[in-house]
């Protein structure tokens, strides 16, 4: 609960600052919010690290927290701080002056919604969290009023999001009809006792569809690319990492704590199919993209497929590997978005063809981008390699022959993904054409953000303590009781 309260306090402070401080001080708002969120993150992280976090429930089991939950929230917080850091320059620009505060407020609310999703043990709370995490995002997507794409993206996002939540709630209604409760614990008990009806299967499918929407699993992903492309870059980076990370974890929570008993009968195979589709289709689309944001959208779709492997494994190792994957993914993707954002701000270019010769004009940015790409592609010694290796290891821990096949398919897909990640590297380093983007100096906040993310990309894997920390938490996670 502490983290939520901390977050709400930050929200209120930002709100009050935005409302009552004079116009001139508004310039400082981005920094203030970043620092505040950083403080909240640190506080939450420390309260966990100091050992005060235990597995507790509140509101009669409607809300639960545990060290793992605290950890994932901390991870999301760190990501959010980086996103804020990287957005300082963008939101400091003049056209943002009138809605600078709102950006931070909405972002904090969505983060709060994600916290609720993660901690909710009751479907009503969960749905509220889900909406909290997605509706304000629609507004954020529409933030760039100067561009038509931003509006289009926002419309597409809100329409599909509402449709998806309708389907999701339909699924929940079926579950409710079958189990008679919306508390996760009660449903789990009812479902493990009762027989599996067809209605339940459909309910699971709808729930997976609803969550698949947030995670952009194929075929529920179609909104992703359009929205990522149209949204302001900071929002895109937020959408692609934080929102996805939260959704993945809460997805696992639902699948384990609600449908855990149906693993081998029902949703193992659903996920199996979805993972194959997600990774493959995401990759196939990514090959042809030239808009960097759209490109990363498809890349993030296929990354979501890899994240799902951790869920498919349905064991502690899968859980920890998934969390680690999310962490690494946050850093790698944010490094990429940091570069994209900096270049977009300086020159307005977001196309891959504009990146030609970047290594000559902006070697450091190019280098950061390359490391990010390598990490996303899973090249050692960068963190992405470790996360990918661990997620495969975790998946195979499940043991069935089918999972070997699944992992093999995923592995073959890594080759396709390597191809398109290398396309970016090729554009920056190999293409012999005249550079499009001139040399420029990125702002301090952008550089700081890049230093942090690139540092993370380089160190998160090699420094084994990170994974070990997550693993130790995973061992004592309440989720472990639900795994087969």
């Amino acid at each position: 609960m502490k983290q939520e309260i901390g977050l709400l306090v930050v929200f209120l402070l930002v709100f009050l600052y935005d409302t009552f401080m004079p116009q001139r001080a508004g310039k400082a708002l981005p920094v203030v919010s970043t620092v505040l969120l950083l403080l909240a993150t640190a506080a939450g992280f420390c309260s966990h690290c100091l050992g005060t976090a235990t597995s507790t429930e509140a509101f009669a089991g409607m809300y639960a927290t545990s060290p793992v939950v605290c950890a994932i929230k901390s991870i999301l917080n760190i990501g959010a701080v980086i996103v804020l850091l990287q957005s300082i320059s963008w939101s400091g620009s003049d056209h943002m002056a009138v809605r600078r505060g709102e950006f931070y407020e909405l972002l904090l609310v969505t983060l709060f919604g994600m916290y609720l999703m993660i901690s909710a043990r009751h479907f009503l709370l969960f749905v509220i969290g889900l909406e909290c995490a997605s509706l304000p995002l629609a507004a954020m997507v529409a933030f760039d009023k100067r561009h038509y794409e931003s509006h289009e993206a926002a419309v597409k996002y809100i329409l599909t999001a509402v449709f998806s939540s309708a389907v999701f709630m339909m699924g929940i209604s079926f579950v409710y009809g079958l189990a008679g409760s919306l508390y996760f614990g009660n449903i789990y008990a009812a479902l493990s006792a009762g027989t599996h009806s067809l209605m339940l299967t459909l309910a699971v499918a709808f729930v997976i569809a609803g969550m698949g929407f947030k995670l952009s699993l194929v075929p529920f992903h179609l909104w992703t690319a359009d929205v990522y492309q149209g949204a302001p870059t900071s929002v895109t980076s937020y959408l692609s990492v934080i929102s996805k990370g939260a959704a993945a974890f809460s997805f696992l929570v639902i699948l384990a704590q609600v449908f855990g008993s149906l693993y081998s009968d029902v949703w193992e195979w659903m996920l199996y199919a979805l993972i194959i589709l997600t990774i493959t289709v995401g990759n196939l689309f990514a090959i042809r993209q030239t808009n960097m944001k759209r490109f990363l959208a498809f890349s993030s779709i296929s990354q979501a497929g890899y994240i799902m492997l951790g869920i498919e494994a349905f064991n502690t190792m899968g859980l920890t590997a998934m969390m680690y994957y999310i962490l690494v993914y946050i850093f790698s993707n944010l490094a990429a978005f940091g570069v994209i954002g900096a270049i977009e701000r300086a020159s307005g270019k977001v196309d891959m063809t504009d990146y030609r010769g970047l290594s000559k004009t902006n070697p450091r940015l190019a280098f950061s981008m390359m490391l990010a790409m390598f990490s996303l592609a899973g090249i050692p010694p960068f963190a992405g390699f470790f996360s990918k290796f661990f997620i495969f290891t975790g998946a195979i821990n499940q043991g069935s022959v089918a999972i070997y096949v699944l992992v093999l398919i995923a592995l073959i897909n890594t080759i396709i993904s390597l191809y398109y990640y290398l396309l970016v590297v090729k554009a920056m380093y190999i293409s012999a054409d005249e550079p499009v983007v001139g040399t420029f100096r990125s702002s301090i906040s952008e550089r700081l953000g890049l230093w942090i993310t690139v540092g993370g990309v380089m160190l998160l894997g090699i420094a084994s303590c990170v994974y070990t920390w997550i693993f130790d938490l995973g061992e004592i996670s309440p989720l472990a009781a639900y795994f087969v």
């Binding site: 479907f123 009503l124 749905v127 509220i128 909406e131 509706l135 629609a138 507004a139 529409a142 009023k145 038509y148 794409e149 509006h151 289009e152 993206a153 926002a154 419309v155 597409k156 809100i158 329409l159 509402v162 449709f163 939540s165 309708a166 389907v167 709630m169 339909m170 929940i172 209604s173 079926f174 409710y176 009809g177 008679g180 409760s181 919306l182 690319a225 359009d226 492309q229 149209g230 042809r288």
Partner: protein, 103 residues
Amino acid sequence: MEIKAIMLLVPALIMFCCGVYGFITRRNMIAILISLELMLNAVDINFAVFNRYLWPDAMEGMFFTLFAIAIAAAETALAIAIIINLYRSAKNIDVRDLNKLKY
């Protein structure tokens, strides 16, 4: 004759399907929002029916419906804001003209 749960669920389901149909076929974004309202409403009815017929002891379904109505209201408000915003910039709210972002 008794009014069984299914007798209410099926009309609700039809309502939901109409919503789906409307979403997919209508071109006006407001009409699409209307279709979405149908779908959400169908879900609400479902909850209420399940609660009343199958699990009358607690009021979970009813409360869910209650909150869902609030959520639907919020969604609609925000969606309309966004649509109007788009209308201002594009002077058009035909959903099929939303095709700048594709492939």
